[in-house]
Amino acid sequence: MKALLKKGFNHLDSFFSVFFTPKWNPMYQLGALSFFYYWIVAITGVYLFIFFETSISGAYSSIERITHDQWYIGGVMRSFHRYASAAMGICVTLHLVREYAMDRYSGPRWFSWVTGIPLLWLLFASAIGGYWLVWDQLAQYIAILTAEWFDWLPIMVDPMASNFLNESTLSDRFFSLLVFLHIGIPLALLLGMFIHIKRVTGARTNPASGLAIGTLLAMLVVSLVWPALSQAPANLDVAVTEVGLDWVFLNPYPLINSWGPGQTWALLVGLSCILTLLPWLPSKRPEQTPVAVVDPDNCNGCGWCLADCPYEAVSMKDHDYKKDHKQSVVDPDLCVSCGICAGACPSSSPFRHVDELTTGISIPGFHIKELLSLTENKLKALDSVAPHIMLYGCDHGSTVDQLESGSVAAISMPCSALVPPAFIDYVLRRGLADGVIISGCCEGDCYYRLGNTWLDQRFSQERMPILRTRVPREKVRLSWLGVQGTAQLGTEIEEFQHYLHHAEEEEAYYG
């Protein structure tokens, strides 16, 4: 099932990238989009609140005035408020399913996963509260069923539903409580959202500007063509017969209707518990390999590993024995064993005059000296006359092992950003290969979040450690094609070899 979902997302990703480009691909920024929708809802909510009357008699009519008397702004604000909430509901759900399908929920990532679950409840509660405030037929339906639903819990002394018996039992006080909740719960949601991303380095909370603008434009169009409207006003003396439902957020209600409150509680609480425990339930997932280890002898305290760790697993402390020096430390509870830190460490240089390559920080599952010996041995074994290519790849992107040949040496590792830029320099200077390609996950969708972003920046000399200027850039390529792109990567390699071959001929001819 998970494999099937993953396949589905992979196809969806490639499809969206065709039109949106990877940079704007909404699939890669569902969390950021959720944040974006939250802000839209918050801002439009403040506007609506200014004109909203907190009373039984005023609520409905004040919203009608906002919708019709100021259709050009109030009406649009209202539509944005409603549609952005629903869009957020969909994005959050997709985000959840995607993190699950892509195996980004277990290990140290449990924290983001588990803190995500209460956000679902808060989001639903916020939305339900919003529909309630309109005090139309839908609100009446929600009010009575919600009250009956909560009355099922043995915590209620007086049944909440007795507030909604008929028009005479309705009180403004209860309405004020609702308004208070409709402000308080979304604020709690925001707080929860920040806790949710606490352990994620530089979490992406803003979508690409192109995607943001497109979204706003699209929402403006739908808000003008199909503005959000109220249903008939509530009247507790007449029962609601047929009601238009928001199926994004109000889907528990038909369930309360047909199953009863107890079963609905059991289902929703049960589902939440299963979801919460998911990171620890037995399932086919990539195994957590041993976490990064610091070697104080080779650490100079530069802090580059700290800057690049995508999960805030690295911090600095006083050096074990060198006075006035710092050294890095790894928190094993946070480390996902990606190896990005090893690629960042200046000690990971094969040019160093040591018998056996050591470095400041490395993952035991794929030590930097292993990367060096594999690189040297594989390249020396190439026997074809075609230009020799060193192809580095990651276990989550294009399958580089499939592309190995007499002229292509391939090495796959947890994350391509494990390759220190000095390695590229080394391979080309020593004439071990004619060209180097680093491949991996799609741009903006690194399994370890930031690997390909860091490599791009290291190679364009915006981030330490940089790819040195002396390295001939035309002999190095970065190729972020993802799992789906293995065949295309093969074509790109051939094309690269072709290019290198011609360059060689030209050089021989012109000197």
């Binding site: 065709v18 039109f19 629903a86 869009a87 009956e148 699209a218 739908v222 199909w226 017969t241 047929e242």
Partner: protein, 164 residues
């Protein structure tokens, strides 16, 4: 040209997201109550009679009390649960014992129930016993009613049953 095609594709994808989204925020409708049905709600909030009587304290018991709490007799606080029954056309629709709230069962008993009943003429009977010491029902109300479709009729209690 390629750019234009990309933006066109984006526009279509935005539409593919937002049009169904707008649709499902208000449709399809859900039928909560069938057309020829009405609603009957019963909500009672009432404190049952206190169980037992005050009894005078013996001299020794009186002496044991702290000086600020001395009083000649001790009174029970526990209240009787309510025996409630609602009959529609002679058939029991609801029948339950509603316990008093409070740690010592000394608070009010409150309950609420909603029923969907066919619209039309009905014979309603409401019965309640709020005193375990008495046999049978201490309160009752009988009424012939005609319910319009979707009408909400509320049975409540305040010094006697009421129908609204």
């Amino acid at each position: 040209m390629a750019d234009l095609r990309r933006y066109l594709g984006q526009a279509l994808l935005y539409a593919a997201f937002f049009v169904p989204l707008v649709y499902i925020t208000h449709l399809p409708t859900f039928t909560h109550l069938e057309e020829d049905m009405a609603v009957l709600k019963i909500a009672v909030r009432h404190a049952g009679k206190i169980i037992g009587e005050c009894k005078p304290l013996s001299g020794a018991e009186y002496d044991k009390l702290p000086s600020n709490m001395k009083r000649p007799e001790i009174c029970p606080r526990e209240r009787s649960p309510l025996q409630l029954e609602l009959l529609l056309d002679g058939e029991s629709l609801y029948r339950a014992t509603v316990s008093p709230s409070g740690l010592h069962n000394d608070g009010v008993s409150s309950m609420y129930q909603r029923f969907e009943v066919p619209a039309g003429a009905h014979h309603l009977q409401l019965l309640m016993n709020d005193d375990v010491a008495s046999e049978g029902y201490t309160w009752q109300l009988e009424r012939d009613v005609v319910l319009e479709p979707a009408q909400v009729m509320v049975a409540s209690f305040k010094e006697g049953f009421r129908l609204q």
